[in-house]
């Protein structure tokens, strides 16, 4: 039995949901960052699955660009995390409430 397209979509949805759950329940900002990477990868899996099943290379190009954006996001996000840690001495996102009244 060959894997169907819906299998890949279901797996991608499960991975995306795990990522959303991670962003919601984790406090550590690095763990939240990794959950966001997980969501990006889930979407990438959808792109590649559609590209393969529809025989169209455009989906894989999108994956390529998403990976570039993820790399840029990693650089800027980790820079923000370092600056946050320098100011707050903590990686807990609840500590970063300086804009809160």
């Amino acid at each position: 039995m060959e894997p169907q397209l819906s299998w890949y979509l279901a797996l991608s949805a499960v991975l995306f949901t795990i990522g959303v759950t991670g962003v919601l329940i984790r406090r550590n900002v690095i763990a939240m960052f990794m959950s966001i990477e997980l969501m990006l990868n889930a979407v990438n899996l959808t792109f590649v699955a559609f590209a393969s099943f529809f025989q169209d290379v455009t989906g894989q190009l999108f994956v390529f660009i998403v990976m570039t954006v993820a790399a840029a996001e990693a650089a800027v996000g980790l820079g923000i995390i370092i600056a946050l840690f320098r100011n707050r001495e903590s990686l807990d996102v609840d500590e970063a409430s300086i804009l809160k009244l």
């Binding site: 690095i30 899996l45 894989q60 994956v63 990976m67 990686l91």
Partner: protein, 222 residues
């Protein structure tokens, strides 16, 4: 056979993803995330996308995760702080919402059975590097160039954010090339051949060390 491989790699991906969320130590989360990336790369190979699989391993499991692990080691936070009671009620809410989302997607996948495209139809040169490259540099050249500008902005932004001393104020001027001053410039009693450097970040700091703060106030008034 392919179904067995799919189940194997899919289960590995889901298990590692659950470990990413469940681990308390961020370093263990990072290692589990590498597991997710590797199993997704295997799935890409199964989907006839070898180039994307290679890029996944090189860029994601290689570069990005090394960056993340580097930051974890740099900040040296071994364990999460113990949770306080605040916002604790959000945990069951998050789990319930996640279950609802999974149920919705499962319903769509079960009820929609229109995707009956045969992946084996036609000569498959879709995932090869040649086809991706030729598309990328002809039809999708503009997104490619925009992506390169985005990367440049990310480089500048990361350097600005992570540098020590924070953002420069409008009155601060950094003297290029003079940030590493020889000791004799600061301390006249030092040996003339003592070339030990004094590190300063800003013009203000250099002026304070040199004892010429009055000069800067004068120039501010101009």
């Amino acid at each position: 056979m392919l179904a067995l491989l799919f189940i194997l790699f899919g289960a590995m991906a889901v298990g590692c993803a659950l470990a990413v969320v469940a681990q308390r130590n961020p370093l263990y989360s990072a290692i589990s995330l590498v597991g997710v990336f590797i199993s997704l790369a295997c799935l890409y190979v199964m989907l006839a996308a070898p180039f994307i699989a290679a890029v996944q391993v090189v860029v994601y499991a290689g570069a990005i995760m090394v960056l993340v692990v580097f930051v974890i080691m740099l900040l040296n936070v071994e364990h999460e702080e113990p949770r306080r009671g605040r916002l604790k009620f959000l945990v069951p809410v998050a789990v319930v919402l996640a279950a609802v989302l999974i149920a919705e997607v499962a319903f769509i996948l079960v009820s929609v059975q229109e995707f009956r495209v045969n992946p084996a139809a036609g000569a498959s040169n879709v995932g090869l590097t040649h086809s991706i490259g030729s598309k990328l540099f002809t039809e999708y050249l503009l997104p490619f160039e925009i992506t390169s500008i985005l990367l440049l902005m990310a480089i500048v932004g990361a350097m600005t954010l992570a540098r020590r001393g924070g953002l420069l104020s409008s009155t601060t001027r950094v003297v290029p090339g003079a940030q590493q001053l020889p000791l004799t410039m600061v301390d006249p009693t030092a040996e003339p051949d003592d070339m030990t450097g004094v590190k300063t970040d800003t013009t203000d700091e250099a002026a304070r060390l040199l004892g010429i703060e009055g000069l800067r106030d004068q120039s501010k008034r101009d």
